[in-house]
């Protein structure tokens, strides 16, 4: 009995990971794949991996094209901080870009400041839809931090809405 309990305790995972990369679109695929690889230790379903990859991709794309206005400068960096505690994943995507003036407005579906780039204005909506919790902190001229939480191992309960 004691052995089983300690074995169970031993399976509680606590882990942390940090990434720093240059804010260029070539790194979008790298960022989401790196986060997906890090999450692999929680044995996520394919569905959960896709959800996380989409959300990370949206956040990183926002930092690159909105935060840094698509400018490639050496000092323009995006930081990702992942934290795992048992079956919960926390992802933080941070930039030191221009920041968001009106966060509520930015989070409205279909709202975009860059229609000329064919941005759909669905970035934050997708993050909200694919993760369990989303928090956006931003200060104009200082940068933006997107904080997302996803609990793994529950999506299989939720019926595919089609």
């Amino acid at each position: 009995m004691i052995e089983i309990v300690s074995w169970k305790k031993g399976t509680e995972i606590k882990n942390e990971m940090r990434l720093e990369f240059r804010a260029i679109s070539d790194n979008e695929a790298f960022a989401r794949t790196a986060v997906a690889a890090f999450v692999a230790q929680l044995n996520p379903t394919l569905e959960e991996i896709s959800d996380i990859k989409t959300a990370v991709s949206e956040a990183v794309t926002n930092s690159i094209i909105h935060g840094y206005d698509g400018e490639d400068r050496e000092e323009n960096k995006v930081w990702i901080h992942c934290f795992i505690k048992s079956d919960v994943l926390e992802v933080e995507v941070r930039d030191c870009g221009i920041g968001i003036e009106n966060i509520d407005r930015a989070m409205e579906p279909l709202f975009t400041t860059k229609p000329e780039l064919e941005r759909s204005g669905m970035g934050f909506s997708f993050m909200e839809a694919f993760m369990d919790d989303l928090e956006v902190l931003s200060e104009v001229g200082q940068g933006t931090t997107v904080h997302m939480i996803k609990k793994l191992g529950i999506t299989s309960w939720i019926e595919d809405v089609e």
Partner: protein, 102 residues
Amino acid sequence: MEEEFKVIDNYLMIRMPDEIDHHQSVHISKTADKYILDEKVGNVVFDFERTTFMDSSGIGIIVGRYKKIACFGGKVYAINTDSRIRRILMLSGLHNVVEIME
């Protein structure tokens, strides 16, 4: 895997790449528009057979092409969509403008 373009009658067929994000989308949109203008095609078909990942940039590509051809009565189709791509299309309300073919 690169995307591929092919014109069949009045349809531009676009075989989408395995991953569609902002990095890819600019190039796909530009090339598609070139075909739409040069070959004067009326309809666009997006083939998602190889696609395993798509974010909101994919929505931008579809909406952008729809805007270009809809005023001339053209239609946009999505074929070989898996449940994931369909979910993304539904989430963004695109199933109203795109004909999703099984």
